[in-house]
């Protein structure tokens, strides 16, 4: 996770620094997708997983409890059934005494009566103290059969009541036996009443207690021989191989996998019988609750995924587009700045070269002049004419060089429009320096009232020079001869604006003139003296630099131009045309 964040920041820095555009956007988008997916899906998956797990546990617990209830209930009903059978046998043995039952007539009648009520009874035997069957009623002829050495006989003597496993016996029909031993009155000898019961009785009973709550209910004995049919593990008397006999009176529940199906199995002893009740239930996984839960979970997950996908795609695209947009903007700005800087540097370089070339030209010019001077005083000699002509040629060529170099300089200056911090006082002094001579010839004095500690302004030097050259020139022209030009600088601190006013003692202007003073081609100068573009250009330049220019004038009082320049000029110039 942290490595993803690291990668994202890495790509962000790459993008911010504008390197390797195309692929880094792709990578960034990819990383962003990854991160967003992780942020959305990891919690979603965790929540889904955890709730499934919890729900599973809940289901398991509930299921076990249910099974326990179910087992207990079934156990009780089966025990009740068996109890009833026992009661019948006990009752019969109590009601009839041994001697009565030695009468075949009685036995047969009893059997018929019993069978009438309990059709599952197959036969009835009365066994004397010696273990010999004395009387028998049923479909077989088993009188005189000796049971004395048989296991069940021994057991019934010991326990008074005995219920056998289901077995085939002589009859080759599955059945089980309930036997009761009774003391012969006055003797330490016992006679036994023995009832065989068709196993179907048991089977039917089991079938009736089966419900949908379990998949299989069966009885099994301690040896693992099935006492009833099992839906899963086979028919009667087949072996149930997995039996672990539960402790007496306790229900044990275990889980197992059978043929790929997870099962919960519960086992409990049926009281007073050799049987163990087995209930098998397929686990929750196959249950309706679980499947509907899974279904709902899946729907929620898919829904969330879909929503998340839509949102992620939108968000990632929006972010990447924003970034790209910002980046593009920055690139445009940088390219623009590069270009402007480049043009400016070429301009400066060309200007430097122009000066560099002007120097030798000046020297050549001067030397040529020197030769002319020398020749003027020299006597005529052979090639004087030709020499003078050559010098003319040199001077002419130098002149032409100067013209083109001058042109180059002008061009170079135009390319170099650069905003910089400018000390306006210095700049004004510089401008006045250009005009000093002219003013001197016209007897015009400059009065300077410059505020101290003016802040530097951020502006373009060339254009500022142009502005003040134009205004001051205008003032000189307005005065003509004899006068005073006053330059005042004031800082309006509250507004961060510097006011530069240029006042002349010229004739001033009437109001109608003032209105038109910044119109293009307007001039008060005589024809040929100026094109009239001066003040309108000045106006344009001041506006371009984010400033303002106003004029106050009164006939006979002179004119004052005031240029207001912002100290912090956010209005950056530049652009294609420099």
């Amino acid at each position: 996770m942290s490595s993803i964040i690291h990668k994202i920041t890495h790509y962000l820095t790459i993008i911010v620094h504008g390197i390797d555009k195309g692929s880094s956007y792709k990578n960034f988008r990819f990383m962003l997708y990854g991160a967003m997916f992780a942020i959305c899906f990891i919690p979603l998956i965790v929540v889904t997983g955890l709730s499934s797990l919890e729900y599973k546990k809940l289901l398991e617990k509930e299921e076990e409890e249910q099974l326990l209830w179910h087992t207990q209930g079934t156990q009780k009903t089966i025990e009740a059934f068996i109890h009833e059978l026992q009661s019948v046998v006990k009752f019969v043995s109590k009601k009839y005494n041994y001697n009565e039952l030695l009468e075949q007539e009685n036995v047969s009648e009893l059997f018929l009566r019993l069978k009438d009520q309990y059709p599952g009874f197959v036969d009835l035997g009365v066994i004397g103290p010696s273990g010999i069957q004395q009387k028998y009623a049923g479909p077989f002829r088993l009188e005189g059969y000796d049971y004395s050495d048989q296991d069940w006989y021994v057991k019934v003597l010991a326990r008074q009541l005995y219920i056998s496993n289901v077995f085939m016996g002589f009859r080759k029909l599955p059945h089980f036996v309930i036997a009761v031993s009774n003391k012969l009155p006055g003797k330490e000898e016992y006679w036994v009443l023995r009832l065989s019961i068709d196993y179907e009785t048991l089977q039917n009973y089991i079938s009736t207690v089966s419900t949908k709550a379990s998949q299989d209910i069966f009885l099994v004995n301690n040896q693992g021989v099935l006492q009833t049919r099992s839906n899963i593990f086979g028919d009667l008397l087949e072996t149930y191989p997995f039996l672990k006999p539960p402790p007496e009176g306790e229900i044990i529940i275990n889980t197992a996998n059978y043929n790929g199906i997870k099962q919960l199995r519960s086992f409990v002893h049926i009281e007073d019988s050799p049987w163990i009740l087995g209930i098998v239930k397929e686990t929750y996984i196959y249950g309706e609750k679980w499947s509907s839960f899974r279904h709902r979970m899946r729907l929620i997950f898919l829904g969330c995924t879909f929503l998340a996908l839509v949102v992620i795609i939108q968000v990632v695209n929006a972010i990447t587009d924003r970034l790209r947009e910002a980046d593009d903007k920055r690139n445009v700005a940088m390219t623009e700045a590069e270009h402007t800087n480049k043009l400016a540097s070429i301009g400066r370089l060309a200007a430097g070269v122009a000066h560099e070339i002007n120097n030798p030209l000046a020297i050549i010019d001067q030397k040529a002049g020197l030769v002319t001077d020398l020749m003027v005083f020299a006597d005529d000699f052979q090639h004087k004419e030709k020499l003078l002509k050559s010098i003319d040629g040199i001077q002419d060529a130098v002149e032409r060089c100067k013209v083109i170099t001058h042109r180059l300089l002008g061009f170079a200056r135009r390319m170099d429009v650069v905003f910089e911090y400018i000390d306006i006082t210095d700049l004004l002094r510089e401008v006045l320096g250009f005009l000093e001579k002219e003013a001197l010839y016209s007897h015009i004095r400059f009065e300077l009232a410059f505020a101290e500690n003016l802040p530097m302004i951020f502006s373009d030097r060339g254009q500022l020079q142009q502005i003040f050259l134009n205004i001051t020139n205008n003032a000189i022209d307005a005065i003509g001869e004899d006068g005073e030009i006053t330059l005042i600088t004031v800082l309006r601190e509250d507004e961060d604006i510097i006011d530069i006013s240029v006042h002349d003692t010229g004739p001033g202007m009437p109001p109608e003139l003032i209105k038109r003073i910044f119109d293009p081609f307007f001039t008060t100068k005589e024809a040929g003296q100026g094109t009239g573009l001066g003040l309108s250009i000045t106006y344009g330049l001041v506006k371009k630099l984010g400033g303002n220019i106003t004029v106050e004038s009164e006939v006979g009082q002179g004119t004052t131009f005031t240029v207001s320049l912002p100290v912090n000029n956010s209005h950056k110039g530049g652009g294609l045309n420099g």
Binding site: H339, S345, V371, F381, I394, R400, C401, F419
Partner: protein, 225 residues
């Protein structure tokens, strides 16, 4: 689309500037040729003149020699400017770092000289040519030197040196005196950002020693391949 158009416009503008500079040098050279031939003719004529006193002849000779020297000087400048101008419209070519440095330093020597700053050149021989954008290279050098000259005091020296080590060419511009502050160009614009932008565009490295270090250095790293 708009950006493309603007770029084309920029390229055109640069190309026209290049043409203009080339045109200027051409014209200048033509005029210099005339001056050259005229002064040569003067020398020839003087050589043929018999009745001339020795003193004047020597004086003329000296003058003509001076003119010749100045012509060569101006011509040298014109040549540098010419090749510079012709290079402006090439965006990718093989060039020798030293050649370009020498040419450019000749062209901008005056900028430094005006501020009384000396440009000292110390170039290592046998630097192989590299393939890159020569005009951007010169642009970067120009910007750096301008930045340094703007922030250095009069009388300082800027040493421009080139080295090659392990196929990597380094151009190092160092000032003999430490700069107290980060050199602040008079344009408080994004000039360093522009420098880095251009360096990234050329795929070269541009590193500075921290302000105040002695010597303060700006190092360009150009892989030579």
């Amino acid at each position: 689309m708009r950006m493309k158009l603007e770029n084309t416009l920029r390229d055109r503008q640069l190309a026209s500037v290049g043409k203009l500079l080339a045109g200027y040098t051409h014209e200048l050279k033509n005029h210099l040729a005339i001056i050259n031939e005229s002064s040569g003719l003067m020398a020839d004529l003087l050589g043929m003149t018999e009745s001339e006193d020795e003193q004047t002849r020597v004086r003329f000779k000296k003058i003509i020699n001076t003119i010749g020297e100045r012509i060569r000087e101006a011509n040298g400048m014109a040549n540098h400017l010419n090749s510079f101008a012709h290079r402006m419209d090439t965006s990718l070519s093989s060039f020798n770092v030293n050649d370009l440095l020498i040419e450019e330093l000749a062209l901008i020597d005056r900028v430094a000289r005006l501020k009384n700053i000396r440009l000292k050149v110390n170039l290592q021989d046998n630097i192989p040519p590299i393939t890159n954008n020569p005009s951007l290279f010169q642009f970067i050098i120009f910007m750096i030197i301008q930045e340094l000259t703007n922030s250095l005091a009069a009388g300082s020296v800027i040493e421009i040196s080139s080295h090659i080590n392990d196929q990597i060419i380094r151009v190092c511009l160092s000032s003999t005196e430490p700069l107290d502050t980060i050199p602040e160009s008079p344009e408080p614009d994004n000039s360093d950002e522009v420098l880095q932008f251009v360096a990234a565009k050329m795929n070269i490295g541009l590193n500075r020693t921290p302000p105040g270090s002695d010597p303060y250095q700006i190092i360009l790293t150009l892989p030579s391949t």
